[in-house]
Amino acid sequence: MSPVPTPVQTRDLTKHYGETVGLDGLDLVVEQGEVLGLLGPNGAGKTTTIRLVLDLIRPTRGEVLLFGLPVGDPAARARVGYLPGELSLDERLSGRGMLDLMDGLRAPGTPPADSRRRAELCERLGLTAADLARRLRDDSRGTKQKIGLIAAWQHDPDLLILDEPTTGLDPLVREAIFELMHEACAAGRTIFHSSHVLSEVDRTCTRVVVLRDGRLVTSRSIDDLRAGLARTMAVRFRDDAPIEALVAAGTELIEHDGARVVLRITGELDALLGVLALHPVEHLAFPEPDLEDAFAEIYGAPSA
């Protein structure tokens, strides 16, 4: 069985805008089934990366391959669905007209999108027949965003590039989008998710790539990111806290008030659990690490 071509591969991808460096030597591989979070502060190079991957701008140096094909090859882009961050639709058309137009922009000889798939997407995102019949210029921002999402998704692409997909959407619709993303991932689709909303990235992505000033800062799985984070644990013992034993177990004491302690934990938990087993505990709180802290730390770190 021949190997599945890598959905996205960039080699030394570089883009200069005159004297300004938009992206500098990005080497990136996005594997099939991944949901990759593309993160970074404004001007980090996220949009430049996406526009290079879609052949909307041309690299100063380096190359992009989509499914093993040069990005300029329409056969490569036939497998891609794209939702831009600043979505602009043809507002003279109706929602249905826009979806038909986007479906019509397919390679010659390619069958149209499955109408049942479009209907299912409309239903899950809460778009009614009346919404689709209305001119886009009369639609709310949220409705336009839903139309943009369906336009990207209706042909069931192997690679979805979603730039801030939940902008302007209510929490219920956001949930529906997360579900769709998980389903797509489970079905072997690949998703390139650019977002500023870290809680969304935390929920949806399997790996994150962080850019800053056009350069790659880090590329790590969400699990690695969590594992590397210091966590805090608050414990209230029945008697006085066994401070010496807790410190000996490799924790850092942040607060201490008689029987109550707050600990900072960076390593393995085995030794700490041994101490806790020997001393009766009345209450214990051990929240999930906050990824916001991790990202703040990464944003501040020097580029690779």
Binding site: L54, L56, A78, P84, S88, M102, L105, A107
Partner: protein
Amino acid sequence: MNAALIRRQLRHVAPVTAAIALGLLAFEILIAHIIVAFDEGPGLQGVLDMLPEFLRDFAGGQIANVSVPGLLAFGFQHPGVLFLSVAWVVFAASGPAGDRDEGTLDLFLARPVTRGRYLASTLVLVVGGCLLLAGMALVGLLVGTSMVEMPEPVDQAGLVDAALSFGALLLGVTGIVLLLAVTSRRRGTAVARAAAVLVPTFLIESFAPMSAPLSSIRWISPFHYGRPALGGVLVTGEPGSPWVLVALFATTTAAAFWAFRRRDL
């Protein structure tokens, strides 16, 4: 080219195209009636003789020996006809700049449509519109001359030649505007650049008969090559050269495709 893109563009330009095409049809029908009305009055030359000298010079630049075929040919050269037709071409051919301006171009070209196919869709639409406008003007003249008894026989083959010259002029303008559209980020910029090229060159060609300096540079104007020669009535004795316009169209269109393929969007 792509059928979905052509349908979309057609939907956007159809109302204004239909209005201009019908306006041209009506105007050309009217021309035949006006010629007959003048012929029954002071005579065509008599009307021209009544004009002040500078206006006579100006009008003489358009029509030399006032005659029925000359005035019929003028139906393609009337400033109103030229303005409306060229304005339509500028509107339709600046579509790529409009899509870029609105942000829809990114969305379209992220789909498996090459830039060449996208631009070809615009080109097909605009060329079709140019042929429609020239065709409607021709039909108007043929219908108009068949409705009234003309003072002298009408050379119908000459009318067809005149319509082809008119169509060639619109094609030449199409190439220029398309090139400006793919190198502009905004539709307004593309339109302003087109106006900056077309208005001065139109004025040069219009006033060239009254000015030796303008006459020496009239060759730079596309309007110089689109003058119909019907019955040998042109004042300068130089009939239009539609092939120059066809060459201009081919060159500027090829340059537009080349530039659009290379540029960042």
